[in-house]
């Protein structure tokens, strides 16, 4: 008897110890969920494109749209201009569709929901009440919400498990659902706006995404409506050898306001995984979208093994006068980051802002920045980029600011700061500036510095260990951008800065 009790106790302790150690490791979200999955066969071809479309029960126009993109994609070649080095990607050696078996039919009650899916989101820190809805339980929405209210769309591998607060949002006229649902339920909106900001043929990765995207989020805010809560999407890649291709489309109609958050994690794996997303924002007259990302895909281990290859096209079109968009990104994850959230400032007096923190540690490579395309009169843009490189990492800021002839009296301000930790990493700044009228002004400031030994010693002499000291100094360096994030996200991001830099000193 005693033996069994002892064993139980010991096992309990061990499990706890294992979890503690995992949590202490540099990547907190590296565990995976053991779950039965349905996969499409490996590789991509027209049949796979049709299969994805069929799984999502799409109308024919959508299937055709995808096929058109696919046929285009096979004629294109992968872009090589970024300062990124990675082995050839074999596009036929991965799965393009993976769905938990239990999601084949939408669960109707809590008893039907796969507890492993529940546990996954619980472990990722998404509150239980939301989680019940996330897992697709109907009727859970009437339970009282605790804490802040953020509606969530949870995407697990290729499918959206569900979105929360749907009814309450609907009362305000807001549509928030998975893109696959939007294609079925709101075809008029999707047909009007999908591909209108990032065309099918935009670039290699966006075109691939157009062909094979499996799910993602859709938001429509009607004229004059201020979205009553923050919206968010949480992307989780779980399956092995599976690419994730999500598609997000947000439309803020005239005078509408919305703040949208995006988070992402993936398990630790030895093999690299492809992620190629497209995000399109449409902002009409006097409308405003604030889009914040905390990207924390698995960055690969300290020897550069594994990690997510993150090729993302994000673009906002300020289509109406006085439209405003603000991109804020905290990029700490991924082995490779290729990402340039951009603003097309088409409306007169429209405004675009881009705040970015990009951290590259160990063998990570980041090539990220923004494009500000000034087309309208009196348009304004502001870029604040903070790049942090540690270990053997390479971190490039690549930015384009264009003032078209018609964009008279427009302004851009760019501040681009790089911080180096150690002497084996690199920071690069590649600004492109084109001004085609005489009344507009572009200001660009750039600095590169090393993390200061005196600052670190000062912190350590007050009792902080070296990593804590680095995290504090780096958080200070990023402050301007952290402040641009919504409160709760800012705290998460701050902690993430510390975690991402673990092992960068000493």
């Amino acid at each position: 008897m005693t033996d069994i009790t002892d064993l139980d106790v010991r096992e309990g302790v061990d499990r706890e110890t294992v979890e503690t150690v995992q949590n202490m490791g540099s990547y907190k979200y590296g565990w995976n969920t053991e779950i039965e999955m349905d996969y499409a066969p490996k590789g991509v071809n027209e049949d796979i494109v049709r299969l994805i479309s069929k799984k999502n029960q799409e109308p024919e126009w959508m299937t055709e749209w995808r096929l058109e993109a696919y046929r285009r994609w096979v004629t294109m070649t992968e872009p090589k201009w970024a300062m990124l080095n990675y082995p050839e990607i074999d596009y036929q050696d991965q799965y393009y569709y993976a769905r938990p078996k239990s999601m084949e039919e939408k669960p109707k009650s809590l008893d039907d929901v796969d507890p492993k899916l529940l546990a996954t989101y619980d472990k990722l820190g998404i509150p239980l009440r939301e989680q019940m809805i996330l897992a697709g339980v109907e009727g859970a929405e009437d339970a009282p919400a605790e804490g802040r209210r953020v509606a969530v769309d949870a995407v697990f591998d290729s499918v959206s498990l569900g979105t929360t607060f749907k009814d309450e949002l609907a009362k305000a006229g807001v549509i928030f659902c998975s893109i696959s649902e939007a294609i079925r339920e709101h075809p008029e909106l999707v047909r009007k706006y999908l591909g209108s900001v990032v065309p099918q043929s935009d670039n290699y990765f966006a075109t691939l995404n157009s062909a094979v995207f499996s799910d993602g989020s859709f938001v429509y805010i009607p004229p004059g409506v201020k979205c009553p809560m923050e919206l968010s999407t949480y992307f989780r890649i779980n399956a092995e050898n599976t690419g994730q291709f999500e598609r997000t489309l947000i439309i803020a109609d005239k005078g509408a306001h919305v703040s949208y958050l995006e988070g992402c994690t993936a398990p630790k794996r030895d093999t690299t995984q492809l992620h190629a997303a497209v995000v399109e924002l449409v902002i009409l007259e006097d409308a405003e979208i604030k889009y914040s990302t905390v990207q924390n895909w698995f960055p690969g281990d300290e020897n550069g093994k594994g990690g997510i290859y993150n090729f993302v096209t994000k673009r906002a079109d300020c289509r109406g006068d006085r439209a405003k968009v603000m991109w804020t990104q905290v990029e700490t994850g991924s082995a490779i980051t290729w990402k340039y959230p951009s603003c097309i400032l088409r409306g007169n007096e429209s405004q675009g802002e881009f705040y970015s923190i990009a951290i590259a540690n160990n063998w990570q490579q980041a090539d990220t920045g923004t494009k500000m395309i000034h087309l309208g009169k009196n348009t304004r843009s502001r870029i604040v980029s903070k790049g942090i490189s540690a270990g053997q990492a390479q971190n490039t800021y690549r930015g384009l600011v264009t003032m078209h002839p018609r964009a008279t009296n427009s302004r851009n301000y760019t501040q681009c700061d790089s911080l180096l930790i150690g002497d084996k990493c690199g920071a690069h700044t590649v600004p492109y500036i084109e001004v085609k009228n005489s009344s507009s002004r572009v200001e660009h400031e750039a600095t590169t510095s090393k993390v200061d030994d005196d600052q670190l010693f000062y912190c350590r002499s007050r009792g902080m260990d070296e990593e804590e000291a680095v995290a504090l100094v780096v958080n200070g360096f990023c402050r301007e951008v952290l402040q641009a994030l919504p409160m709760e996200f800012a705290m998460e991001a701050q902690a993430l800065v510390a975690i991402s830099l673990e092992g960068s000193v000493g």
Partner: protein, 251 residues
Amino acid sequence: MLKINNLHVKLEDEDKQILKGLTLEVPAGEVHAIMGPNGSGKSTLSYVLSGRDGYEVTDGSATLDGESLLDMEPEERAAAGLFLAFQYPVEIPGVGNMTFLRTAVNAQRKARGEAELTAGEFLKVVRAKAAELQISPDMLKRPVNVGFSGGEKKRNEILQMAMLEPRMCIMDETDSGLDVDAMRLVSEGVNALRSEGRSFLVITHYQRLLNHIKPDVVHIMSNGRIIKSGGPELALEVEENGYGDLLAEAG
């Protein structure tokens, strides 16, 4: 409390000896002052004791309550109760003064196996101590030492000292650049901390600080060594005659 014996220190990447056999003992509860001409190695001594990089100890020892300081990381020395008020406090852009203080206090508590202070507990203590040093709430919010005046920086060092409650306080020219009022505030802050279990090593050029903070022993340092030790009257002698005679006497 603090025992330094025959300490020899050179620069790590230069063939330059700075401390040349320094011996000094500060018993618990006492205040010792070190005076000496510029360049005699006073700041170097304070940096070596707190564990800054760039120096090589070639001989001798330094212990805090019998434990060798020189083998510890800077943060371990801090957790063991050593504190240095810097001659030139360092600016940390973007890091709020309050955040810095709380991180430091909790880091030390954690290292000593004590529970961390909650935001509320911490706030209460820091507000009271800041008020005593006439540090405004605004200064607590601003980034650490950024845009602080000389006097503000020094008062901020004393605030950190008051919050961290070290056993061995080293103050490196905390009085330089202070006006009369600031000097009074800083001295009051220090005197409030004086206790049986806490010792001070006060590095200064001026006797006037020692009117406020009464030392038990005054040491004269020159060229990397203590050349003379005595009572408070030694400081008066320096004030009147300078270091000339003392240096000549020491040869």
